[in-house]
Amino acid sequence: MKKSSYLTRLSRAARWQLPAEEAAEVIADYRELLFCKGETDAQLVQELGTPWQAVKLAGAPKKYRGWLAAFSLLALFPVVMTIWLFAREHHSPAAACLAVLGALFSLIWFQAGPKPRARQKKLFLFLGAQVLFLLLAAGVFFSLLWLVSHQKAVPLPPGTMGQTVTWGFRSAGLFSALLALWGLAGARMENRAWRSLYVMGLTVLALCLLALSCLHSMNLDTSAPQWWLPYLLQGGVTGLLGALLTGAALC
């Protein structure tokens, strides 16, 4: 292993295993150590251990276990919601509660993390992708509702249309869950602004579940005036809360 690749791996391991300040210190120390080392590259691992082991030795195991527990708990929210995406029951009100709970927990947990220093190009790219997905999904959803409520012909046979839309929302939800987990890792390894990706991921997941539960509901009485109002209300509140919490997470 080359010195530069050893340092890259060590830096990644340190930012994952250690709190930001300690990670910076350990990385700086190893940079200095590697600079002084004259040995051949092959001896590095033998002398220092693997980058993961080296960082593990340098940190306090209790703190790392605490982070792993928090990460597991935070990851549980999108994982459970993803399972609901593929289940028969979509539990949309519970999903909205989970999204808010997860968002609040992430806001509190990462509050002590480092603030963003420069412009977060990569983060805003991911957030933009999320918004795009959300707008696309919302567009499909409301077009479908409009077609159904105005008793217009849908462009595909109803069965195919239903399957396509369902899998569209499932894919959007799955993509959001992955981005939410990516956001968690970013909040630990980069800076706390990355938790906004997690919050937005949870929001999009909750909205996808709401759309699926609305589409799959057997109790839709489209002849009743404003039958869509409860769905719109729940979606509006979830979306608004999600947007507010995403904004707070960016700070």
Binding site: A28, R31, E32, L33, E47, L48, G49, Q53, A54, L57
Partner: protein, 100 residues
């Protein structure tokens, strides 16, 4: 008294004489205990720093990253005395048992 404390004693003993550059400490100790990885020694040095027994400061640069030097604190001197006393009593016990 296990190996961890022996290594700590060695680190503190080296720092008792003079402030030392981190890499120098690791190299010297690693050559005395070749079966111990340098990362493990670095972790001990870091632990001593965290516990306030040593402290670090940036020294002169030599074309590369700033050099980090370590020095003993009064708490470190006290700890060094304790470890040395433990080591001596262990040595006496071993001698009495005819091991050494």
């Amino acid at each position: 008294m296990l190996k961890k404390e022996v290594l700590e004693l060695c680190l503190l003993q080296m720092l008792l004489k003079e402030d030392q550059y981190g890499y120098e400490l690791l190299k010297r100790l690693h050559s005395a205990f070749p079966d111990t990885q340098e990362s493990a020694i670095y972790a001990l040095l870091r632990g001593l720093c965290r516990e306030g027994r040593t402290e670090s400061y940036q020294g002169r640069q030599s074309g590369g990253p700033a050099r980090k030097y370590y020095r003993l604190t009064p708490a470190g001197q006290e700890y060094q005395k304790q470890l040395l006393a433990q080591w001596q009593s262990l040595q006496r016990a071993m001698e009495e048992l005819g091991i050494l």
